[in-house]
């Protein structure tokens, strides 16, 4: 099988000669969930944000190396296109407060100036909300603001908003760290279902979450990718000593 995402020597610096991510090289295969783990400040979110070129928004951040998404070098593509192909879900649910639930799902289309007719809109909204199991909960309150929902529902709305654009991969930056256990559980179940259609990379500081949902795990430490492999294998027989120490709670 061909990898959907390939990274070669990816480094990210916030200031000259201070690297948050150092020479990361790895492949991500389609229809898998990859968990990126590591202690705070190890560069896991920074690496994730390099994939959809979020760092372009801040002039002080420099990304080097090569990232290919479905065979295309993302630095040769238009950054807007990269971001549509690599959807992102953030730590804090961020539905747009000036838009209704319905408009939030379609926000990607509105923002990109893509016009749709009513039937297409209704279809996309229903399909996206069905796929995050939110449809039954919100179908009668579509015109309410997105901020009217609970935190867990807001996060699922944000996932729906990202899925509506039919991305190739889904980048999730600690998507459950602001949520209660029940909402977290729902999102985890959701990710396992979404895996059939999408490739998911999820940054998490929750090791048991990584063990529950991911196929592969990456362990990062001080900006370096220490180990990347099958999750079960990594949790039972880690190859690297630092991975073992982190997983057994020696540090982190």
């Amino acid at each position: 099988m061909k990898p959907v995402l390939q990274m070669k020597d990816v480094s990210v610096s916030y200031a000259p000669d201070t690297y948050a991510v150092k020479n990361v090289t790895t492949d991500i295969y389609p229809n898998t969930i990859t968990a990126i783990m590591g202690p705070s400040g190890c560069g896991k979110s920074t690496l994730l944000r390099a994939i959809n070129r979020m760092h372009d928004l801040y002039t002080n951040i420099k990304t080097t190396g090569e990232i290919t998404l479905k065979g295309n070098n993302i630095f040769d593509m238009n950054s807007m296109e990269v971001r549509r192909m690599a959807g992102m879900v953030f730590q804090q649910p961020n539905p747009f407060p000036t838009m209704s639930i319905y408009e939030n799902v379609l926000a990607g289309y509105k923002l990109n100036g893509i016009r749709l007719n009513k039937k297409e809109k209704d279809e996309i909204v229903e399909q996206s909300l069905q796929s995050v199991a939110l449809w039954d909960e919100v179908k009668d309150v579509m015109s309410k603001r997105g901020s009217f929902l609970s935190g867990g529902q807001q996060q699922r709305l944000c996932i729906a908003r990202t899925l509506a654009l039919k991305p190739e991969i889904l980048l999730m930056d600690e998507p459950t760290s602001a949520l209660d256990p029940i909402s977290t559980n729902k999102i985890e179940e959701l990710l396992l279902e979404l895996k059939d259609k999408f490739t998911i990379i999820v940054v998490t500081h929750n090791m048991s979450q990584a063990a529950r949902i991911s196929d592969n795990s990456m362990f990062m430490y001080l900006g370096e990718l220490v180990e990347h492999g099958n999750t079960t294998q990594m949790f039972t027989k880690p190859k690297n000593k630092r991975t073992e120490e982190y997983l057994t709670g020696v540090f982190g």
Partner: protein, 285 residues
């Protein structure tokens, strides 16, 4: 004991402010009753005549109310594109950059220029331009006043809307960028709608400033006591007619001028109240 004295002093200071405000309102109301009794409140407001000749003496505020609304709203209209650009420049495009604080201090400098200096500049620098453009023969009038007034209120409108635009949470903007939006699309669909109430409030406050601005307008508006026929015409605002005529006024005329002052006070107080209400809505987002 010290606490008690301090609290008493604070209470006393607050009370004095309250009494002063009440005193100003009382003075305005009591001195304007003569005019309101003569014409009735509505009769005074709706009457466009202002005739100080002793034989045919008659006073109404409508010409000046219309003149005030004309100049203030036209000034607001002229100020919007500039102040919104400044606000986006400082609050979005160059937020936190050195160039932004430079632009900000220049705009703040505009707010510090005394009204009389604006009046002089309008009189000697802008008026000839108005004549050259053929807008009217003398240059004086609503048009000239509104241009100068627009420049005077830009700092008020832009500094407050800059605050509201830069307060739009980064997580919303990143959310929009992550969906493939360009910076322009983020501003159009996220930043401006989210900051909308705040921006509206800052324009309402700027309008309040424009309504009450006196010195520069008095020097530039042409001071004619009738309803202006259009933007090219001369006129008078409520503030400028008071500034122009209070010196030689007594009796019914003085009372009428004070009545106009009271009306202006009520209008600006209402405008400020509306702005505060709109801003409360912002705080609840």
């Amino acid at each position: 004991m010290k606490d008690k004295i301090f609290r008493f002093l604070l209470f006393f200071a607050a009370l004095i402010i309250l009494l002063l405000t009440a005193g100003i309102i009382f003075a305005l109301v009591s001195r304007s009753t003569e005019a309101f009794q003569e014409y009735g409140i509505w009769g005074f407001i709706a009457n466009p005549e202002w005739d100080p000749r002793p034989a045919t003496e008659e006073y109404g505020a409508l010409s000046f109310i219309v003149g005030t609304l004309y100049t203030a709203f036209f000034a607001l209209f002229l100020c919007v594109p500039f102040s919104l650009s400044v606000a986006l420049f400082n609050g979005e495009y160059f937020k936190g950059k050195r160039i932004s604080s430079f632009v900000r201090s220049i705009v703040d400098l505009l707010a510090g220029i005394p009204s009389i200096v604006y009046g002089l500049w309008g009189f000697y620098a802008v008026r000839p331009l108005i004549i050259d453009l053929g807008i009217n023969a003398q240059g004086f009038g609503i048009f000239l006043s509104s241009i100068v007034l627009a420049i005077m209120i830009i700092p008020y409108a832009s500094s407050l809307s800059t605050e509201f635009i830069s307060m739009v949470p980064n997580k919303l903007k990143e959310g929009a960028y992550s969906l493939g939006a360009t910076q322009f699309e983020v501003i159009q669909n996220i930043s401006l709608p989210t900051a909308r109430s705040g921006i509206v409030a800052s324009y309402i406050l700027a309008l309040g400033r424009a309504l009450g601005e006196t010195m520069a307008v008095t020097m530039l508006i042409g001071n004619t006591d009738r309803i202006p026929k259009g933007l090219r015409d001369t006129g008078n605002t409520m503030a400028s007619v008071i500034a122009n005529q209070f010196g030689e006024a007594d009796g019914l005329k003085l009372s009428s001028l004070i009545a106009i002052g009271l009306l202006l006070f009520v209008i600006t107080a209402l405008i400020n109240m509306i702005a505060k209400l709109v801003m409360k809505k912002v705080a609840s987002i």
